[in-house]
């Protein structure tokens, strides 16, 4: 679904901005020393001494354990951030959450479950019966609205489509499947050319 991809891209942009700011700041600060724009930024950062100078060495050696623990912590943090960021590059995978149905006063022990994939298939099939819908993709996700992506013919008003096709089909699914509470819908519409119309 497009809005999941949109969320992934947004988080990547935030990460790139933060990383970009840090790299630019480090690079610019170092270049001011390298190009003699400033003589020193702090004792360990002095343009007249080597990069790894006595002040830097004594700063690390005086608090060696703290520096080592800090460096390991930062390293582990970078690995975790990198792995989580990399995992977000994977396109969203359709994954259905099964629905546990209410007992509704039944005295029979146990629980009844409606497979999310089966509910999605039934909803898709019902939606695709409409001549205005070319293709339907439905996903029952955990803790969120039911995600629906519809390829709809472009010359049909959205209100009619939602009120006369989507809402009744969802009502049928909720009633027949006994789904309670009724989940919300998040619908992405993709306008497509009606079949048989010349695109040229």
């Amino acid at each position: 679904m497009k809005r999941l991809r949109s969320r992934q891209l947004r988080s990547s942009r935030v990460m790139l901005t933060v990383l970009g700011l840090m790299l630019t700041a480090v690079g610019a600060a170092g270049l001011t020393l390298s190009l003699d724009a400033v003589d020193r930024l702090a004792d360990p950062l002095d343009a007249d001494t080597p990069v790894w100078n006595d002040a830097g060495r004594s700063l690390v050696e005086n608090h060696q354990l703290a520096w080592q623990l800090g460096a390991v912590g930062v390293g582990l943090l970078l690995v975790v951030i990198g792995l989580s960021w990399l995992a977000r590059q994977i396109p969203p995978i359709r994954h259905h959450q099964d629905l546990e149905l209410p007992k509704g006063g039944s005295s029979v022990a146990g629980t009844s479950t409606l497979a999310g994939g089966a509910a999605a298939d039934a909803f898709e099939e019902d939606l695709e019966r409409s001549r205005w819908i070319e293709r339907a993709r439905v996903e029952f996700r955990k803790d969120g609205p039911v995600r629906v992506r519809l390829d709809v013919v472009e010359d049909h008003p959205v209100d009619e489509l939602l009120d006369e096709v989507v809402a009744p089909a969802f009502d049928r699914l909720v009633r027949v499947g006994g789904i309670d509470p009724r989940p919300d819908l998040a619908i992405d519409l993709r306008l497509v050319t009606p079949p048989g119309r010349s695109v040229a």
Binding site: K2, R5, L9, T17, G20, G30, G75
Partner: protein, 176 residues
């Protein structure tokens, strides 16, 4: 830029995340090795001497810092570049949105079918809809502007989209 920026975002994100994993792993491995008084595991054994003798104005240092700043600026630009939305919300319908590219293609197809219009380029943003109409005629096709407006108004009303259209008409003799 509409195609390049999302691709660049993905490519840079993948590279940057791999770089973070690499730098983080290197840091952990080398600090643990140093704490155990062992030789460096991944870095050259004489890296401490090399760094100790490195001056700020050394060419390799300047190159590394310039590269760091350059990569930072590129990441910053890509991260902050204003991107077209993937979906546009439908007015008065919570949770319903229309995909931008489908909408642009649909409007473009409809406008191209109008009399005197040889091509149409539609760009939808969060609030605006920019339309460029091309005509092969030497004089501005009469009524084309109004016809385009009419189609846009009808389509935006049908799809319940709150977008402000702006139309430019290019023909062989000039532009309106």
């Amino acid at each position: 830029m509409r195609l390049i920026i999302p691709v660049l975002t993905r490519v840079l994100s993948a590279l940057a995340s791999l770089a973070l994993i690499g730098v983080g792993s290197l840091l952990v491995v080398e600090v643990v090795a140093a704490a155990l008084d062992a030789d460096p595991v991944l870095l050259p054994s004489d890296y401490a001497d090399r760094v100790a003798g490195l001056a700020w104005d050394d060419r390799s240092m300047v190159t590394a810092l310039a590269a760091t700043a350059g990569v930072g600026v590129v990441a910053l630009l890509v991260g902050m570049w204003r991107r077209a939305p993937l979906t546009i919300p439908v007015e008065g319908r919570s949770g319903v949105a229309i995909e931008r590219r489908g909408l642009e293609g649909s409007l473009s197809r409809r406008l191209t079918g109008l009399d005197g219009v040889s091509g149409a380029r539609v760009r939808a943003g969060r609030r605006r809809l920019r339309v460029r109409i091309d005509s092969r005629r030497r004089v501005a096709p009469e009524g084309a502007h109004e016809a385009v407006r009419e189609v846009l108004d009808r389509e935006l009303a049908d799809q319940r989209l709150d977008l402000r259209p702006s139309v430019r008409l290019r023909y062989r003799g000039g532009e309106l």
